[in-house]
Amino acid sequence: MADLARHGAATRPVPFRGGGFAPSARRGVGLAVFVALILLAEWGTRSGWISPLTLPRPSDVLATLVDLWTSGRLWEHLVPSLSRLAVGAVIGVGLGVATGVMIGLFSYVRAGLVPLVAALFPVPKIALLPLFVIWFGIDESSKYALIAFGTFTPTVVATYGAVDNVDRGLIRMGQSFGLSWWSIVRKIVLPGAMPGILSGLRISLAIAIILLVAAEMLGAQHGIGAYILQAGSLYDLEKLFAGVTILSLLGVLISFAVGQAERVLLRWRR
């Protein structure tokens, strides 16, 4: 207190200069942005300020969705699409993880396959549609194959990156305790690579959804992709947007599911 008096006027609190640079969750803002955009579109299309050629009226899209739901045609389209997604993604992700782990573990596999995967990555899947018809037919198998092919390459890349990133110290520890090669792979490498594999899964599954439309170009009469394509060819914007909305919701849902899987499988992380 004596000090305080001595320094008199020059005494002041230390200025605060920390904080910030840590964006925090603002609940509801995301929803508000969606609602605002939708209201804007609704108002624009109603007032004629946005031509019906440019955007459908959101309320009409909603009506289309409701109609899809009540008429039961939603399931008619959703069930085949989901089964194509599931089978295709399981094949692609399964093979991708297996290949990625092999690349991560064996020098020769790595040397042989990494350039191949790098060359396959930028190949546009729609360009190969005519070939897929020949290779896999126009039934479900070509749809599975297309989705599997599309999810395979990103999964491989994510997986071998994840294996590469497994702490070598843990592996040396395993060796120092005389664990067998197979034990090390099973108990150290695979769990250690799991976070990377799961975050690769997020991307692979988003790609799978995107490829659904391409896959259903091939002789699909039902399916969300086919529904979108038909809406596009009829220039029926309400249906087009309804279909896109479904895919978008599906994507958000799948990403949420992966998030839940991460919460369970990666409980050991913070």
Binding site: L53, A220, L229, Q230, L234
Partner: protein, 310 residues
Amino acid sequence: QDRKIVVGALRLTSHAASFVAMERGYFREAGLDAELRFFDAAQPMAVAIASGDVDFGITAITGGLISLAEKGAVKVIGGALQEEKGIDGQKFLASDAAFQAGVKTPKDLGGKRYAVTQPGSSFHYMGAKMAAAEGIELEYVPLQKVGAIIGAMKSGQVDGWSIVPHIAKALDGSGAVHIIGDVADYLPDYQVTTVFTSLDNTVNERPLTEDFLKAFSKGVADYNAALVDRTAGEEAQQKMLDLLAPYVYPDDAPEKAKTSILNGAMRLNENAGLTTASVQDQIDWFKAEGMIKDTIGFDTVVDSSFAPVL
């Protein structure tokens, strides 16, 4: 001062009139500074007319076109390509596998897999009309692209299809696919493609639209005379083939291209005349299939004040 127009085109003989009018200066004579824009499918061309990027186009009557017409974006103003008894037209095809299994006529396709690009496409219409006439059911398989359909036909994964004559003949020649019938037998006077433009051009640019049709019709006349009726003589035919080859088959050897063009020559409508009965039938079919709204009528789609009605 020439007025600038953009004409949408596909690299098909059905668009020959535009190429002829372009090459022989008919557009210029009509005071039009025309530019050709090429597309690889009819649907984007229709959308491009709606968006104002293209002024005139030629395409089959599809669900998409009708839907755009309903939104007040486009209007059919004349006819372009037509089936005609006696002139080689579109063919029904069977894959080799189906053919070997006994599909020798269109009727034999009952219960089989029939390829279309998309629901509501002209392929769908042709198949459906044939099936109705024969009293059979078809399983329609949408494959989006002609290339995908060809692949599926060759590998026997679909059984039937219909396509313009030169592609049909080329495929038939390879032995992988067989011609089993003519579309004209089921759809006489089928108005395969039409000339269309934006609603704005029919209302506010009437003279421009009329000038376009005039020039276009000259091209039609030349083409029909040279390749369909063959009244213009051998030399005119050769000249016409020379003119068209680089447009239709830019990447192929000229001789091969010319054979294909000759094989594919179908009647173009004189003066862009429109077979209204066929158009009405197509619109009715779309309605029956539930692909377009019931409120759509002939006048929603067609402005018949520009070209003769057949």
